[in-house]
C-alpha cells in the first residue's frame, strides 16, 4: 500500500485499472469452479460407474490363496518324495546285502 501511495498519479491509475481488469477477467472463471455441496443427498444406490466392483477383488483374494496353497502343497510333496528317495538309496548303499551280512549263500 505504501508503494501504491508513493507511485505517480498516472501510474497509480494504470495499476488500479490493470487490477480491476484482472478481477473482471477472472470472475467468470471463479464462478465456473464447482461449488462445494451445501448438503449431502442420500441415494439408494451409487451410480455403477462410480463403484469399485467388489466381486473381482474378493475372487482374486480367494483365488490367489487357493492357487498358491495348492502349488505349495504340490511343491512340498515333490521335494519330500525326492529327498526320501535319495535317503532310501543312500541307506540301501550303506547296508551290506543280506547274504553278505549273514554269511548265507
Amino acid at each position: 500500500m505504501r508503494r501504491l501511495r508513493e507511485m505517480p498519479g498516472r501510474l497509480k491509475a494504470a495499476s488500479i485499472g490493470v487490477m480491476l481488469g484482472l478481477l473482471l477477467f477472472a470472475s467468470p472463471n471463479v464462478n465456473a469452479q464447482p461449488q462445494p455441496p451445501k448438503d449431502f443427498v442420500a441415494v439408494d444406490e451409487t451410480a455403477p460407474g462410480e463403484q469399485i466392483p467388489a466381486i473381482p477383488l474378493v475372487a482374486t483374494a480367494y483365488g490367489f490363496i487357493w492357487v498358491v496353497l495348492m502349488g505349495y502343497v504340490w511343491s512340498l510333496g515333490r521335494r519330500l518324495r525326492k529327498v526320501e528317495g535319495e535317503l532310501a538309496e543312500l541307506e540301501s548303499r550303506r547296508k551290506p546285502p543280506f547274504a553278505e551280512a549273514t554269511g548265507c549263500k
Partner: protein, 218 residues
C-alpha cells in the same frame, strides 16, 4: 506321512472345500459390503503369519542356545511358512483396502511393520539358501531378532494412529460373522500344523541325507 498328519490334512482340505459355502452364508457388512468377506481368509492368514514367525524365533533360540539340532529344521520350516502366510496377508489386504479405503496401500504402522516382518523372513530364507557354512547360526540370530517384530505388528493398531481395524474387532463380531471367521481360523490352524510338520520332516530328512553323504566321503 504319519497317520495323524494325514487325518489333519484330510480334515483341513475338507474344511477348505466347505469354506466358500460358509463364507457365502455370512451377511454383508454395512459400510464395506461384500468386500469385507476377504477378512475370513485375510485374518487367519495374518494370524498364521505372526504365529509362524514366533515359532521360527523360538525354534531358532532352542537351536542357538540349547544346541538342539532338530530345532533348526523346525525354524526353517516355520520361516518358509511365515513367508507363505505373509504373502497371503500382504496380497489379500491391499485387495480389501482398494475397496474399503480407496487405495491399494497405506504406509501406516500395521501395514509397514507387516511388510518389514515379511521381508525379514524372505531375507532369512535367502540367507539359508545362499549363505553357505555358518548360515544356520546367523539365520537363527536373525529369526530371533525378527520374532520381536511380531509384537510391533500386533500392538501397532492399538497404540498408533492407523486406518487398519484394531484387534478389538474380533471379539465384538456378531455371531453370524464370527462363525465363518472361527471356522476359517480352525481350517488355517490345522493346515498350518500339517504344513509345518511336513516341511520340518523335509528339512530333517535333508540333514540325514547330508550326514550320509559326509559319512560316505569319510
Amino acid at each position: 506321512m504319519t497317520r495323524p498328519t494325514l487325518y489333519m490334512l484330510a480334515l483341513a482340505a475338507g474344511m477348505f472345500a466347505m469354506a466358500p459355502w460358509i463364507i457365502n452364508a455370512a451377511p454383508n457388512e454395512a459400510t464395506m459390503g461384500l468386500v469385507y468377506k476377504i477378512y475370513f481368509f485375510h485374518m487367519p492368514s495374518a494370524w498364521m503369519f505372526l504365529i509362524s514367525a514366533l515359532v521360527a524365533g523360538v525354534a531358532s533360540a532352542r537351536f542357538l542356545f540349547f544346541k538342539k539340532a532338530t530345532a533348526d529344521g523346525w525354524a526353517v520350516a516355520a520361516a518358509e511358512l511365515t513367508v507363505l502366510f505373509g504373502s497371503f496377508t500382504l496380497v489379500t489386504g491391499p485387495l480389501w483396502a482398494r475397496k474399503a479405503w480407496g487405495v491399494w496401500w497405506q504406509w501406516d504402522p500395521r501395514l509397514t511393520s507387516s511388510l518389514v516382518l515379511f521381508l525379514m523372513f524372505v531375507a532369512y530364507l535367502l540367507l539359508r539358501r545362499f549363505g553357505g557354512p555358518g548360515s544356520d547360526k546367523l539365520g537363527a540370530g536373525m529369526a530371533i531378532f525378527s520374532m520381536f517384530n511380531v509384537v510391533f505388528v500386533w500392538v501397532s493398531v492399538n497404540y498408533w494412529r492407523t486406518i487398519h481395524p484394531p484387534t478389538t474387532v474380533v471379539p465384538t463380531l456378531p455371531v453370524e460373522m464370527g462363525i465363518p471367521l472361527w471356522y476359517c481360523v480352525t481350517a488355517f490352524t490345522l493346515l498350518y500344523i500339517v504344513l509345518l510338520r511336513l516341511r520340518a520332516r523335509l528339512e530333517h530328512q535333508r540333514t540325514r541325507v547330508d550326514a550320509l553323504y559326509l559319512a560316505e566321503e569319510s
